[in-house]
Symmetry: C2
Subunit: 330 residues, 2 copies
Amino acid sequence: MKLATIKNNSRDGQLVVVSRDLTKAVKVPEIAHTMQEALDNWDDISPKLEKVYDQLQNNTLSNTFDFDSKEAMAAIPRAYHWADGSAYVTHVELVRKARNAELPETFWTDPLMYMGASDAFIGANEDIKIEKEEWGIDFESEVAVITDDVPAGVNAENAQKHIKLVAIINDVSLRNLIPNELAKQFGFYQSKPWTTFSPVVVTPDELDDAWSNAKVHLPLISTLNSKVIGSPNAGIDMTFDFGQLIAHAAKSRSLMAGSVIGSGTVANQGSPNGSSCLAEVRCLEIIKDGKPSTPFMSFDDRIEIEMKNKKGETIFGKIDQVVKQYDPIN
Amino acid sequence: MKLATIKNNSRDGQLVVVSRDLTKAVKVPEIAHTMQEALDNWDDISPKLEKVYDQLQNNTLSNTFDFDSKEAMAAIPRAYHWADGSAYVTHVELVRKARNAELPETFWTDPLMYMGASDAFIGANEDIKIEKEEWGIDFESEVAVITDDVPAGVNAENAQKHIKLVAIINDVSLRNLIPNELAKQFGFYQSKPWTTFSPVVVTPDELDDAWSNAKVHLPLISTLNSKVIGSPNAGIDMTFDFGQLIAHAAKSRSLMAGSVIGSGTVANQGSPNGSSCLAEVRCLEIIKDGKPSTPFMSFDDRIEIEMKNKKGETIFGKIDQVVKQYDPIN
């Protein structure tokens, strides 16, 4: 089934069930008002939502309306936990190579993961508001999953059972703020301002056989100002699957229902089908030419991120947003 | 005024107004059901809560009940943002000195801050559940503030206006998991499992003149197994005040109402009144004796954290909790 959160003048928005082709939607206040409410009681609520989804697919509902991704908020507009892995270690290896740094051997067995700003999730068509271009604005195209309650100490195999929904996301990064933050060793903070969600999130069964081993085996297409930057396959070179990432996150504590776990920038070894962020493009240029030639994003740049099934149909709808300058108000 | 969240079989608990002496409380469902709901509309709701607080203080309410800190959940049992600073740079300097590492000069001007697990806040009397003692269990006694909505790019002076509530907290740390996480440069994750809140949170005016320059000028008392470990003054040697910490957190994005901003381990230069965590005690031993003699916490250890006003009365109630072993269930 496919679900979305649409604007309704509340901070948490309104949960809707969306048709497979993303044309129709229906509100379900009798089942759950918000995505978080659904996730809080997923075992009880998801069968009811699935029933509505079937009716929507079969055109037996009268209270539907046209789904418009411009009305979409993030799936969970404010969430309680957002942990982003860096599961495509080949990408990390490339970034290190560009600055002549060794990749520690443990990076292949111990996931990198940082805590992100779960109160800063934005909708698929919302502007990316940034104060300064010189902060080095970049997109990062990723896959993410949303969990129900995860017990502390869960193993990677059982962690897979807690994956309830799948999304694609844009983890906006401010590259020129990263070196200082990394040097402080306390992780990313100012350098990771906003994370954008796809218009809809889907249950893993919507991915058919593209969902296996807790990975999504499809290309993730990133398009900057109408030029495709990359379409690496998210199922290839993902060193840690989502079960392993969840188990890592839950090693020393439980995770609350509605936790969002990200894959990190999707990347394939050697980048044969391009990249999912400009930082990787620039690293490839540094390795080849000694210096980068592709700039980071400018104000008014447009980034589109999408994933299609084998029939060429959109799965999550399209992230399609523009970078806009933000003036601080004091 | 003083507020608390008490258990009611929901994930978010029930907002209550608590008397200044922490003996009586009253539910306020006609004003707000939860702490988050109050913070979402603080300007409208806080005057109504203040009125109830006055009535509670004047004994003109009939629907009060005895306040019991054992019924307290964290102020916001699941929050959208938890950012912990390390504002007492003298502590960071000491920790570095113990391992013969230089303190970068920028640490005195650019705050250290990490993103914590806002879905893992626990109540003042709840057990600290940890799987393994060898992870190096430690408490960290801190002051924290809770904000309303903070605009991106706010300056430090204006940021102070967004401080709505003050708390004391225990930022539980797993010291032996920290070196590996610091080496990975992605920040703390597994090493910061739970954060405990004081039984009540208070508006800054409850601190009288102990609240000035966005700091709390009172000793924070940490007691481990009935032995006082330290009572440093939280107003001394706080290099960055809460306005500066909020401004740092909001540099590149807005913060959602209900954001929790922590001070980091309270510490005074030279530790004349002891320490707010065992890591600091051990660092002092390393500097003096070449090696630490105080062990980290063991299962069944009891940690109490409290702050009293100049009359010796408790302000926030007492964090009083025990470390318990947790067996993962798969």
